[in-house]
């Protein structure tokens, strides 16, 4: 296990270095780094100071080392628009994105697993077929348009829910969250549904496939033969065995939920990292874009690492096959 862990950590470190080189090269490839990293509104004295601070007057390899050491100290540049350290700007907005992503994940689990199980248990009936048809629709609906239609239905026509923003927040362990206030909860519902729909369709498919497989297993037949109530067979014996693959896949998908939050946040004006990224791209606020890029790469490598390690704990074949190589 330890050997596997060390090798996996080593791989993650290499990935981060590769990505850092790519980002660095990218900044140079698109043009003069002075234009990229220093605000176009700065006066000559400020430009001079910034060039010295970023080491742009030094040879390329020194610049790269400086970029890396600045990044390691958490200095990824200063936003042109907000005039604040880019990294701090992003981290301030992270809780909003995480709250939205977690809400969407929970929603997709609590909606998707029951629906998928029903579709599996009644796979040859109209209910099952209906659920599967709905899941194809869920896969095909463009996320942003679906969000706009939610706004149209529930905010503009019915007027039940707000069309955007985050609403009131209260601090929980020093982090502002919106799910503890009524107003915040109302603001959270539509974006969470929007972000959850695609994953719900995925969970429905996984749960259905799992149910159809588990239904035929001996232990289910045995439980039925023993006279266990149908309710208990489904909710205990079958559900437990369906959960493992569903939870594994959802763990892998958490990163993509965070990525897709970019779209949801833009549609619903949700003040998270994704909206910040889009605003920064449109405002040419490049330090924030670069900082977001480095941070998200780091987060993804972290998620992949955690998923791999958890997976290797659950399934010893993964790390054993690695050793045999």
């Amino acid at each position: 296990m330890l050997a596997y862990l060390i090798r996996r950590l080593f791989q993650a470190a290499i990935t981060i270095v590769v990505m850092a080189v790519l980002v660095f090269v990218g900044i140079y490839a698109i043009g003069n780094p002075i234009d990229v990293l220093i605000s176009p509104e700065a006066d000559p004295a400020e430009i001079e100071a910034a060039i010295r601070r970023l080491g742009l007057d030094q040879p390329l390899w020194r610049q790269f080392l400086l970029f890396v050491s600045n990044a390691l100290r958490g200095d990824l540049g200063t936003s042109f628009v907000h005039n604040e350290p880019a990294l701090r700007l992003i981290i301030e907005r992270m809780p909003a994105t995480l709250e939205l992503a977690v809400a969407a994940m929970l929603l997709s689990i609590f909606l998707g697993i029951p629906l998928g199980m029903i579709a599996g248990l009644r796979h040859d009936r109209a209910t099952g077929r209906g659920i599967m048809a709905a899941s194809i629709l869920g896969f095909s609906l463009p996320n942003f348009w679906q969000g706009m239609m939610l706004i149209m239905l529930f905010a503009v026509w019915a007027g039940w829910l707000p069309s955007g923003g985050r609403g009131d927040t209260v601090p929980l362990f020093g982090v502002p969250v919106s799910f503890l206030t009524l107003d915040g909860l109302q603001h959270l519902i539509l974006p969470a549904i929007n972000l959850a729909l695609f994953k719900t369709a995925l969970v429905v498919r996984l749960a259905r496939a799992g149910t159809r497989e588990v239904m035929l297993q001996d232990y289910v037949k045995f439980a039925r033969a023993k006279g266990v109530s149908e309710r208990r067979v489904v909710l205990v014996h079958m559900l437990k065995n369906i959960l493992i693959p569903v939870v594994t896949v959802l763990g892998l998908e958490f990163g993509s939920v965070i990525a897709f939050a970019v779209v949801t946040e833009t549609v619903f004006a949700w003040p998270g990292m994704g909206k910040l990224l889009i605003d920064s791209i449109l405002n040419l606020d490049r330090p924030v874009v670069v900082a977001y890029l480095m941070l998200i790469v780091f987060v993804f490598i972290l998620i992949n690492l955690v998923v791999d390690i958890v997976y290797s704990l659950l399934d010893p074949r993964v790390r054993l096959s690695g050793r045999a190589e």
Partner: protein, 302 residues
């Protein structure tokens, strides 16, 4: 005797393509989807002849007709079936023109990515060794990031434009094909016919593209069909976010984005109908893809 002869004759007459077509036609939904797709493609190709107006010819637009709801009549007497946008543009015409751009970007990027990905995957599988492990590491690395994120970052660097969206979508997609083709080629490579053509000392290029590639195609076709839908959806999303196609060449995604502010004041049709068109195209592609997967899956081969 004559009975067996007749079966043999019909068997001989049915080419692999005909068997494929027959099996595909077993699903009525898939056939309907395919017909729907062909109709959309035809409409897009012949857009200038079938739409009531050219939505990008400013001379044909009348600002007096701006933001009219569906089915309303214009100043000049023609009916706007799907309403007009703020410029007085007929939404039906705008949608057909938008489908053109969406299809070109979706299908074009998929085709280019297919060529690149297949070549890389085949070469990696055929030669193996260090080349293969390096290439597949890059593929793994890229696929560990969601497509939308990679595309967003590329476009943040490249800027707006149809050509740039194409480049971004090609870079996003090639890795899928490289992985799929390599998987299929690894199995095919060990088969006897490859050994045979190697013994014939054919050139490597010929072995790769004339013998190995055709036998790796079925899974690739399935992935490619679904990817066209994904590429169209991704392009629409990027255009909606404001990093995709420029305002002068509005795809369906940009049309939807243009209607965003009007949606909040209840003028739903500017965003609604382009979205329905986008949804129908993607649903049709996915249904055709589903049926293709069933027909081309060797494990389900009857």
């Amino acid at each position: 005797m004559s009975g067996t002869d007749r079966t043999a004759a019909t068997m001989a007459v049915e080419t692999p393509f005909m068997r494929f077509a027959r099996q595909f036609a077993e699903s009525r939904v898939a056939v309907l989807s395919l017909i729907g797709l062909l109709a959309v493609i035809l409409a897009a190709v012949f857009a200038p002849w079938i739409t009531p107006q050219n939505p990008y010819d400013l001379a044909q637009l009348d600002i007096m007709d701006g933001n009219l709801p569906p089915m309303s009549e214009s100043f000049g007497g023609t009916t706007y079936w799907l309403g007009t946008d703020d410029q007085g543009r007929d939404m039906l015409s705008a949608i057909v023109y938008g489908i053109r751009i969406s299809l070109v970007v979706g299908a074009g990027s998929t085709l280019a990515a297919l060529l690149i990905g297949c070549t890389v995957g085949l070469v990696a599988a055929f030669y193996g060794g260090r080349l293969e492990s390096v290439v597949m590491r890059i593929v793994d690395l890229q696929l560990s990031f969601p497509a939308i994120l990679v595309a967003l970052i590329l476009l943040a660097v490249l800027g707006r434009g149809v050509d740039k969206v194409l480049v971004a979508l090609i870079i996003v997609q090639w890795a899928y094909y490289a992985r799929t083709v390599r998987g299929a080629a690894l199995v095919e490579r060990r088969k006897e016919y490859i050994e045979a053509v190697r013994c014939l000392a054919l050139s490597h290029g010929r072995i790769l593209f004339r013998h190995l590639l055709p036998n790796c195609l079925p899974p690739v076709i399935v992935v490619a069909t679904v990817q066209v839908g994904n590429a169209i959806a991704l392009e629409a999303t990027l255009s909606f976010l404001g990093v995709g196609v420029p305002i002068t060449e509005p795809s369906l995604g940009l049309l939807i984005a243009n209607g965003y502010e009007y949606l909040l004041s209840g003028q739903y049709w500017i965003s609604f109908f382009p979205g329905v068109a986008l949804l129908l195209i993607i649903v049709c592609i996915n249904l055709v893809g589903d049926q293709l997967r069933d027909v081309l899956n060797p494990r389900l081969q009857r």
